[in-house]
């Protein structure tokens, strides 16, 4: 019997702000612009929303702040924070709230001015201290991911060039996306020779720091056809976590995707071969390699060779991060919602200049913390339901 969430809810509205530098604007203003865009896309206003899902690095009261700011009268309010995967986890929470009738129109929204406003622009208050980690100043999150990359290179012989090819591929996709911030082509040598940040990562192994926002509107599937744009259905979703502090990650080369993805595939009733396009939270180049392995697109340790083969680049057999990803398109601190946004554009056939022809099923993988939380979501067109 099909899972009750399979195909139960759909994305009917998408809003994106400009990406890059949005000076003299607050994170609430950017979130509001994205929300307005998503609601307009669906032919709705804030007055139609009764479920609000938001997150950033702000106070625990962000949901109150955002609902007040937008003038929303919510039956469901959620400002969970499990890191940058949060907004993909919000898709699960929203689908549950919609499917059970607790709310009827769910808005998932994010805005940040991490570049222009620094920590304040992300709404970040005083840094939460992890007493057994922060005292060593590991330059988190970069240091934690760098140690995952170093261990992967040690155990499996993953090379500098293979890490670089993730960044080169992301940039090649970004070159096709007018909205992407970084569109100049780069080479594997460019990545290796860039400024070293935390070995083995140079600055080009690391995601951008941007201003920007995104929002989506979800409804129950029974009314998903009543909106202007073709609905994008949630087919399956799974979440898992392994740790908070990197020293507590059981095997630093195996992420919680290995647990989350089977849950998503089972619910969606699809297999890996059915996936047309994938959008990963590529905070660092190693992420894409780890996620391809943990999703099962290759054996553990073979992700480096897979990305080096060109499979994930434009024209490859496994298109990954078709917008340019956090490495080259946009990264305002928490990227999760942008994976969903790109999946929606691809499944609507609206990904101008970078459209994966005939895309019917898309997989998103949100990543949070220091490879800590993982949420895998599988979306499909009406034909895929």
């Amino acid at each position: 019997m099909a899972h009750m969430l399979r195909g139960a809810a759909a994305v009917v509205g998408l809003g994106l702000t400009e990406f890059g530098t949005l000076p003299e604007r607050s994170h609430l203003e950017v979130m509001a612009e994205a929300s307005h865009g998503a609601l307009s896309d669906a032919g709705l206003t804030v007055k139609d929303v009764d479920g609000l899902f938001v997150s950033n690095f702000a106070s625990p009261f962000l949901a109150l702040q955002s609902a007040e700011y937008l003038g929303i009268d919510p039956a469901v309010l959620d400002s969970t924070n499990i890191g940058g995967s949060t907004f993909v986890s919000h898709v699960q929470a929203a689908a549950m709230a919609l499917a059970t009738g607790v709310c009827n129109v769910a808005l998932i929204a994010y805005g940040s001015t991490a570049r222009s406003g620094g920590r304040a622009g992300q709404g970040r208050g005083p840094q939460v201290r992890t007493p057994y980690e922060d005292v060593y100043r590991p330059r988190n999150p970069i240091g934690s991911y760098a140690m995952a990359a170093a261990r992967h290179m040690h155990e499996f012989g993953t090379t500098r060039d293979q890490l670089s090819s993730v960044a080169v591929s992301a940039r090649a996709w970004a070159a096709k996306n007018p909205r992407a911030e970084m569109r100049e082509p780069i080479t594997v040598e460019d990545v290796a020779n860039a400024r070293m940040i935390c070995d083995p990562f140079t600055v080009l192994d690391c995601c951008l720091v941007s201003d920007g926002g995104a929002a989506i509107v979800m409804v129950r599937s029974e009314r998903a056809g009543d909106f202007p744009k073709p609905p994008v259905y949630l087919l399956g979703i799974g979440m898992a976590m392994t740790h908070d502090q990197i020293a507590q990650m059981p095997d630093i080369t195996v992420t919680a995707v290995a647990k989350a993805a089977p849950r998503a595939f089972e619910m969606a009733e699809v297999s890996r071969g059915d996936i047309d396009v994938m959008e990963f939270y590529d905070a660092f180049t190693i992420n894409t390699i780890l996620f391809l392995e943990d999703l099962g697109f290759c054996a553990k340790g073979e992700g480096g060779a897979l990305v080096e083969s060109g499979a994930i680049a434009p024209g490859g057999r496994l298109p990954v991060n078709t917008n340019g990803g956090g490495l080259s398109c946009v990264h305002p601190g928490m990227y999760g919602l942008f994976t969903v946004a790109e999946a929606v554009e691809q499944l609507r056939g609206e990904a101008e200049g970078r459209q994966v022809e005939g895309a019917e099923i898309a997989l998103c993988n949100g990543n949070g913390g220091k490879l800590s939380s993982q949420v895998t979501a599988i979306f499909g067109t009406g034909a895929a339901v």
Partner: protein, 131 residues
Amino acid sequence: MSGNRTFDSPGPDSVYRAALENGAFRIQKCGGCGAHIFYPRAICPACGSTDLGWVTASGKGTVYSTTIVRQKPERGGDYNICLVDLEEGPRLISRVVDAPPEEVRIGRPVEAFIGELDEERVVLFRLAEAG
């Protein structure tokens, strides 16, 4: 090993820090399942028991992974960050401080000592002889 004191005052975090101030690197050992635990907990993450006692760590460990945090010389220069697997089992984040960061490699044996970072007592490591 003491009995079930994890919900009493001082809590495990304070007990650990007090020992560190007195020059001892102590970790917990679970009376329920025998697992060694670091960082200090009130409930064993391996089995759920609250029967957690203290043992002095041997300080012997192996580098599980490592990185060099690059920093301008005027801000203090590059430094090592590493994950160390203690011979008792737990893994912790720390620094190897007695060698150039380039010499800290995965698999190298290391030895703990108690030092200071930013005026706080912490467990640090130095390179050790193999075997």
